[in-house]
């Protein structure tokens, strides 16, 4: 096992050579923390860490930082997601200190969906930094113990740094160079966009392996179960950067409506089983959007239960 750099439980599990399992919760569009804690309760024994999205799709929600604190107070392991769309570098560094002050040890660095998609399309956006520069910032704060401005940080944050990768976005030819770039920026774990086109993912992994990237970063494969054929079609046609092969959609449409959720789960579990065989995949990021109650079933039926106990 390679030495851990942070107290992160997720890091420990990955560095011990176990397959990690993470999942995500979307915070509520209101102030009731039970909306998060209830979801976390459902999945807590089946995942190693829980991501909290950050105003996903640019829709205003309870902030990731506060949600992560609720998770932490439950004794669980949060991953704070941070987008650069809504914060300048002062707020970014400040929020990192805030998260670290509550012993949140994992961060996922993202640019963020454009506000045109959300509930405030007339608002400003920030993008003082992009996701790569955010990765560099967290590493700088952790490893140099300094702010971007140069001053020393009192008790620097210790965070395990992650980012997203999308093997299915265009153009394909730079998706692996992009991974290499994020690694050069300092990223330590990656969660990919949800995978339906396993062939394409396998190709991306192959190209990554050719450059030895699979040994420089922990890649967690993203999966999302379809609840219905409608959902499959929606994701295929309306979500940018999503690749849903026609035969997967056909498989979903081919069963009667009441059987579709079951089929969606089956596809998800089969995908995980296939991905387990792909060299370089070090874990799974199960995104069961608004279907968190199925995460335990997915994890169990994929042979990923029980989760390893780490001290």
């Amino acid at each position: 096992m390679t030495e851990t750099k942070t107290p992160s439980k997720l890091e420990k599990i990955l560095r011990s050579g176990h397959l990690a399992v993470t999942s995500e919760c979307g915070p509520p569009r209101g102030t009731d923390p039970k909306a998060i804690t209830k979801k976390a309760e459902m999945i807590k024994d089946h995942v190693d860490a829980i991501n909290i999205t950050d105003n996903q799709t640019s829709v205003t929600r309870l902030c990731s930082l506060a949600s992560c604190i609720h998770i932490k107070l439950m004794g669980l392991e949060p991953v704070i997601q941070m987008v650069t769309r809504d914060r300048n570098r002062t707020a970014i560094q400040s929020d990192i200190l805030g998260a670290a002050s509550f012993d949140i040890f994992n961060i996922l660095c993202l640019s963020g969906d454009h506000q045109a998609f959300g509930d405030n399309p007339k608002g400003q956006n920030v993008f003082d930094l992009d996701s790569m520069q955010l990765i560099q910032t967290v590493r700088h704060m952790r490893d140099e113990g300094k702010f971007l401005g140069g001053d020393e940080i009192n008790r620097p944050p210790r965070m395990f740094v992650g980012a997203a990768a999308n093997p299915f976005a265009d153009p394909f030819e730079i998706r692996v160079p992009r991974l290499a770039k994020k690694i050069a920026a300092g990223v330590e774990f990656i969660q990919t966009q949800c995978i339906y086109n396993v062939e394409k993912f396998e190709l991306w992994m192959k190209l990554a392996r050719e450059r030895g990237l699979h040994e420089k970063v922990f890649i967690l494969a993203g999966v999302t179960p379809f609840k219905s054929a409608g959902m499959a079609k929606y994701m295929k046609n309306r979500v940018p950067g999503m690749d849903v092969p026609e035969d997967v959609v056909k498989r979903m449409s081919g069963v009667p409506k009441e059987k579709q959720p079951e089929e969606g789960l089956k596809i998800c579990i089969e995908t995980i089983q296939r991905l387990k065989e792909v060299e370089g995949v070090k874990g799974f990021h199960v995104m069961a959007i608004e279907w968190e109650e199925k995460v335990p079933e997915i994890v169990e039926k994929s042979g990923l239960y029980p989760r390893p106990k780490m001290e």
């Binding site: 769309r85 570098r89 640019s111 963020g112 969906d113 454009h114 045109a116 998609f117 956006n125 993008f127 003082d128 930094l129 992009d130 996701s131 790569m132 520069q133 560099q136 910032t137 971007l148 997203a164 999308n166 976005a169 265009d170 153009p171 030819e173 730079i174 160079p177 290499a180 770039k181 050069a184 920026a185 966009q193 940018p240 950067g241």
Partner: protein, 222 residues
């Protein structure tokens, strides 16, 4: 050039309806090229407003003038002798011209007739698009001549984001993804390896964020 779009006539009417002596001032440069505020546009607007007021039964004097530019003292001086005849000037110049007029002629209300949009190019007659946001530190040499600040909706310096689809931006299928363009150009120039160089964090202090900007050239000041 600066690209502008004429305001809706209803908005213009709202701005000038209480006045009786209107001077419509056009500009011979950028707004002429983007057909928003040149001599022709001044003439059409003047005619429309005359008819509007006639219809309202209101007697309004509407005159037309088109200056070479409205951002240099010398050209604005050309109307000094006549401006007192008017109780408002409707300027069809970009926001720069409107303001400069207002600074110079402090006792005459100056109202804008166009919305100033961006610095850009004429793709073809009738289609103008943005190219520059005046960030004050040009990096076009690194990005093969395509600007990520003005052409990427998220002004990413290490793009593209995961929403880039078939060379188009996630927010608009008609909008080219700037990073796709940059990658294509790097390929053409045989410099695709440059893609992996990390662009460092931007100094935005020379941009709007740093406050209103000024350029001073002591070597040419008199």
């Amino acid at each position: 050039m600066i690209v502008a779009k004429q305001k809706d006539i209803e908005e213009i009417i709202e701005e000038v309806k209480d006045y009786n002596k209107i001077l419509i001032a056009g500009c011979n440069e950028c707004v002429t090229v983007c057909e928003a505020g040149g001599k022709k546009e001044v003439a059409v607007l003047a005619s429309a407003l005359r008819m509007y007021f006639m219809n309202q039964g209101k007697d309004v004097k509407i005159d037309e003038v088109t200056l070479e530019r409205q951002c240099d003292h010398e050209y604005l001086e050309e109307i000094r002798k006549m401006i007192d005849q008017y109780d408002v000037v409707l300027s069809l110049a970009c926001g720069v011209g409107v303001q400069f007029l207002a600074e110079k002629y402090i006792s005459t209300p100056i109202v804008p007739g166009v919305d100033t949009c961006f610095m850009g190019v004429t793709e073809e007659r009738g289609v103008w698009s943005e190219r520059c946001q005046a960030c004050g530190q040009c990096i076009l040499a690194r990005t093969a001549g395509i600007c990520p600040v003005s052409r990427c909706a998220k002004r990413l310096f290490n793009g593209p984001c995961g929403g880039s689809t078939k060379g188009k931006c996630e927010i608009d299928k008609e909008l080219d993804c700037a990073w796709q363009l940059i990658i294509d150009r790097l390929k053409e120039l045989g410099r695709l390896d440059d893609y992996e160089q990390l662009t460092p964090i931007k100094d935005w202090s020379t941009e709007r964020a740093g406050g209103p900007r000024k350029v001073v050239r002591e070597d040419v000041r008199q």
